[in-house]
């Protein structure tokens, strides 16, 4: 078994309440109840998320020694995702349209897609993502070694399902509230406003404008999801976008990136292959 990674991205979480002692057999039993279950032979597009150990990628064994991460507990979960390869769908549709000499109707396309999914999905192997975390029970802290939104959501959900404990991200608010600053400062923290630093490039005198507060950003309101109107005509590329599986894959395993931000571009090489880190 290779050692835990020595580079990459990490997202810290805190929890409150009491977790099962990771040294107890009961801890491994909890993991076992939410173990990874294979979808290798599934005939539909689906995602499977569950615990495994660094020593056993199947999720069949949870020996306490396999969770030994020195001063922490080494957790690993696996995300398998099976989805229809859209290129195959496009090739078959192009061939069908060429053979009959005209475009297929939306209904015909749907039927062709359903037929192909029945035929091809049992033969498609799922993509696999392995994600590690280090849990420090005495500090009520867990470090997740993945930064993608999908991996974070999968992890917090799996953790809750396993231990009935809600993880809180160590963001600027939670990190402050969890720190040893006094209650008065914590009270101030909850209500503090951003500093508006003066723009001195606009000053034409030697005195600069005063420092002021600016309004604190309010949490955005989540709009209720509106059901999408069924599409009657889709192109091949439309089809691949609209019918993507319900789970965004983790960039860490070399699957499709969910964002192209500067940071992700910067981190891509170090997150590209987990095995490299080990």
């Amino acid at each position: 078994m290779a050692a835990i990674r020595k580079s990459g991205g990490v997202v810290p979480y805190f929890w409150q309440g009491k977790l099962v002692d990771p040294r107890d057999d009961e801890f491994a039993e909890h993991l076992s109840l939410q173990r990874f279950r294979t979808i290798e032979n599934a005939a539909s597009e689906e995602v499977s998320v569950g615990w495994i150990t660094p020593a056993d990628p199947t999720g069949d064994n949870f020996s306490p020694e396999d969770l030994d991460g020195g001063i922490g507990t080494w957790l690993r979960f696996r995300i398998d995702k099976k989805s229809m390869p859209m290129k195959w769908l496009q090739i078959h549709r192009d061939a069908a349209e060429k053979a009959r000499g005209k475009k297929m109707s939306a209904k015909e396309r749907r039927e062709l897609k359903e037929d192909l999914m029945d035929q091809l999905l049992p033969r498609v192997l799922p993509t696999i993502t392995l994600v590690d975390a280090l849990l420090f029970d005495d500090r009520k802290t867990v470090l997740l070694f993945a930064t993608s939104k999908s991996a974070k959501e999968a992890f917090t959900k799996l953790f809750f399902e396993t231990f009935s404990i809600q993880l809180e991200p160590a963001d600027p608010l939670q990190s402050g509230m969890r720190s040893d600053i006094n209650d008065e400062l914590k009270h101030t923290l909850e209500r503090v406003n951003p500093i508006r630093w003066p723009n001195t490039t606009l000053d034409n005198a030697k005195t600069r404008a005063p420092i002021t507060d600016m309004p604190r950003p309010a949490p955005s309101v989540v709009e209720p999801k509106v059901a999408k109107k069924p599409q009657t005509e889709t192109s091949a590329s439309d089809s691949s976008q609209n019918e993507s599986p319900p789970f965004e894959v983790d960039e860490a395993a070399g699957m499709s990136a969910e964002t192209t931000s500067t940071e992700d571009a910067l981190e891509a090489p170090v997150e590209a292959k987990m095995e490299d880190q080990q």
Partner: protein, 172 residues
């Protein structure tokens, strides 16, 4: 909205102020901090900076390679009142040195490089234990630095003391 993203949305600016404060402390005081328990850590801004946009319509500015903190673009951004959104830091404690890119609004760490494995590590298990200790140490250093910042930032006279000094530095 989940609680997970609420803290980032409402208090992400504090992470940005924290990162900018570390730059200020590094340039004006050398970047050495004494943490609780007498631990001394040193920080330096490395070769990657992103300035937060002042408004949603503005463009984020990223500077990378070389010494971006010394560039005219960086000084102009500070003079315009921009905060740091991301920066790659060198963090050292004793013999150990980490590099990490801090995403300020979430305080997550990207592109981390741990110190070299200890020479005493003879097995993969030893290496795991050593690295786990280094991951935790990095997390605790960042949290401790943030705590130092908060203790200064949340005092009632901050605007007339620490912020005033930082504003003068930003205006240079």
């Amino acid at each position: 909205m989940s609680q997970a993203s609420q803290g980032v949305e409402t208090h992400g600016f504090l992470g940005e102020e924290f990162l900018t404060w570390m730059w200020f402390k590094w340039e004006t005081e050398g970047g050495e901090f004494t943490l609780s328990g007498g631990r001394i850590v040193g920080i330096a801004i490395d070769d990657f900076l992103t300035f937060a946009a002042l408004t949603e319509d503005e463009t984020e500015q990223t500077l990378r390679r070389g010494s971006p903190t010394r560039t005219e673009e960086a000084r102009t951004a500070l003079r315009q009142g921009h905060r740091l959104r991301k920066a790659r830091l060198l963090i050292a404690e004793g013999e150990r040195q980490w590099t990490a890119t801090i995403d300020a609004p979430s305080l997550t760490l990207g592109g981390v490089k741990l110190p070299e494995d200890a020479e005493e590590c003879e097995s993969e298990m030893d290496r795991t234990a050593d690295r786990a200790a280094n991951w935790l140490a990095l997390h605790e250093i960042v949290q401790a630095l943030y705590r130092l910042f908060l203790k200064e930032r949340l005092t009632s006279d901050y605007q007339s003391t620490g912020a005033e000094q930082q504003a003068n530095w930003m205006a240079r």
